[in-house]
């Protein structure tokens, strides 16, 4: 903040104290999850609870892969993440198309794209299921992946960013004889790296966390994602909290690691895209 000169030591200490105290409160579920995931089954139910496990063990994590099909769930989740990046490319192309070309119906189509953001998921859930059923795509990976590829909000953010790419640059490339797709992939995409970083993280998180749609579409356990597997675990091992916490940690920790590497792009990305 700008009024730096007026900051006194007490005020600063108070702000830091409140911030740290709130942060600890917010982190309790995570700390509890990590601590419990290393406890043997007997210790996790002991009262009073131990903060640091007395007999730390990684047995719970091994259990996930030997007794549960977590390797299969992990593979499916990664496939979904991979395809969602294809969707990201489609959204970027659409954002570029809306930002950098004049064409008939541009405004109208763009408003329709924006309008889809307002539709509650519950309205489209049933018809999309019926549609996929008619196409014979229920209980397939295609059926899980396809409906989530295009995201209106993502198109909107890409468009906002792409409008800041100078027209002269694109025009100059055209005069040099570059094709439209060459321009997009070799010239515009490198410039748009910051927005790709933000969207990439958000896409990864969404794909990694996908739950409801795989649950609706997949009947075979061979198509389950990590979240569906984890909810299964919660049902089957209701009282084995240590195993459940290990499953949860396995889902949460990779996201936190990836996020902490890239987190500075997220605030910058939102500031850049003019959502303020």
């Amino acid at each position: 903040m700008a009024v730096a000169t007026k900051k006194n030591k007490w005020e600063q200490a108070l702000v830091i104290f409140i911030m740290v105290a709130g942060g600890v409160l917010v982190s309790i579920p995570f700390l509890w999850m990590i601590s419990s995931s290393f406890k043997p089954e007997s210790e996790v139910l002991s009262i009073p609870p131990t903060i640091i496990p007395d007999n730390p063990t990684i047995e719970n994590y091994i259990n996930l892969f030997t007794n549960m099909n977590f390797a299969v769930y992990l593979k499916n989740t990664l496939i979904i993440v991979l395809f969602s990046f294809l969707g990201l490319l489609f959204n970027a192309m659409a954002g570029y198309g809306f930002a950098k070309y004049e064409f008939k119906g541009r405004e109208k189509v763009f408003y329709i794209v924006l309008a889809t953001m307002m539709i509650p998921g519950q309205v489209t859930m049933i018809p999309v299921y019926l549609l996929l059923n008619a196409m014979g795509l229920t209980n397939t990976m295609t059926g899980i992946v396809l409906p989530g590829l295009a995201v209106a909000f993502s198109i909107f953010l890409f468009r906002q960013f792409m409008t800041t790419v100078p027209d002269d640059l694109i025009e100059a490339a055209r005069l040099d004889g570059a094709g439209e797709f060459y321009i997009f992939f070799r010239l515009v995409m490198p410039i748009a790296k910051p927005i790709f970083a933000v969207q990439g993280i958000l896409t990864f998180i969404a794909g990694w966390n996908s739950f409801l749609w795989p649950l609706i579409i997949a009947n075979d356990e061979s198509l389950y994602t990590l979240s569906v597997g984890l909810s299964l675990l919660q049902g089957q091992y209701a009282n084995n909290f240590a195993l459940q916490m290990a499953g949860a940690a396995f889902m949460v920790v990779p996201i936190i690691i990836i996020f902490s590497f890239f987190q500075k792009y997220i605030v910058e990305g939102f500031t850049m895209s003019g959502i303020k």
Binding site: Q12, I28, V44, P120, V123, S227, L233, F241
Partner: protein, 294 residues
Amino acid sequence: MKQFKNRHPYMFIAPAVILLSLFSLIPILIAFVISFTDMNLKGLADWSSVTFIGLENYIALFSDSTFIKSIFNTIFYVLIGVPLVIICSLSIALLLNYGTSKLFTTFRAVYYMPSITNIIAVAVIWGYLYNTEYGLFNYLLSLLSVENVPWLEEPTIAKLSLILLAVWKGIGINMIIFLAALQGIPKSYYEAAEMDGANRLQVLFNVTLPLLRYATFFVTVTTLIGWMQFFEEPFVMTDGGPLDGTISIALFIYKEGFQFSEFGYAAAGSFVLFAMIILVTVLQFKFRKSDTEY
């Protein structure tokens, strides 16, 4: 920016626009049509068994005590949850915007963490924290000699427990939007206020908050829409129970659609929800005061 080769713009937008039409726009029309039919699991296999029943689904909905309960619960969630999320995320954004050191960026990540956490993992962890016998919350309360709280077993307390969890999870994204807005305020405004001798509270109420009006409006609209569709928390934590005490409209629609396969009835419910969302959003735009852009 002239018309270059005419087909190129369409080639760029086509994949995304086709997918959105197929999985967002056309489904609305389908939902609208089937909401006037008795479409169910039988109709899925044999379309000829589906009959047009007019407004019957809509009439039935408003005499369905579970649906009425779900409307009441949703209003409860919105009235308590939305202000809580906005106040918490704005306060945290103001705290985090105070300094720029490494400590502040670290805590930015800490406050953001819940919002990127998988909902099932959240349900598993919080289910354990809320456990009446073995949960951490009741243990901590027992240290203060407070009796066991039935976190998820009594309708009203269960609703509040779900709100607590959802606020915890909902702060992150809104806090980021407020933070981006705070960082977008030109320094000159603060310098001017300082020259006028304004104290920190005056700066907050006369400079910062008015300039956050657009961000606050954006956050309020999106948060409200989000909470009207409150679904995942009751779905994974309580499945609507106890005694339908936590069922929301969205969960009601899901249950009718995918547990009882009453597609027509569920589609009608989804249009009632849609209408409520549109109504509330339009009202907000109507009551919005004109913006001071900066």
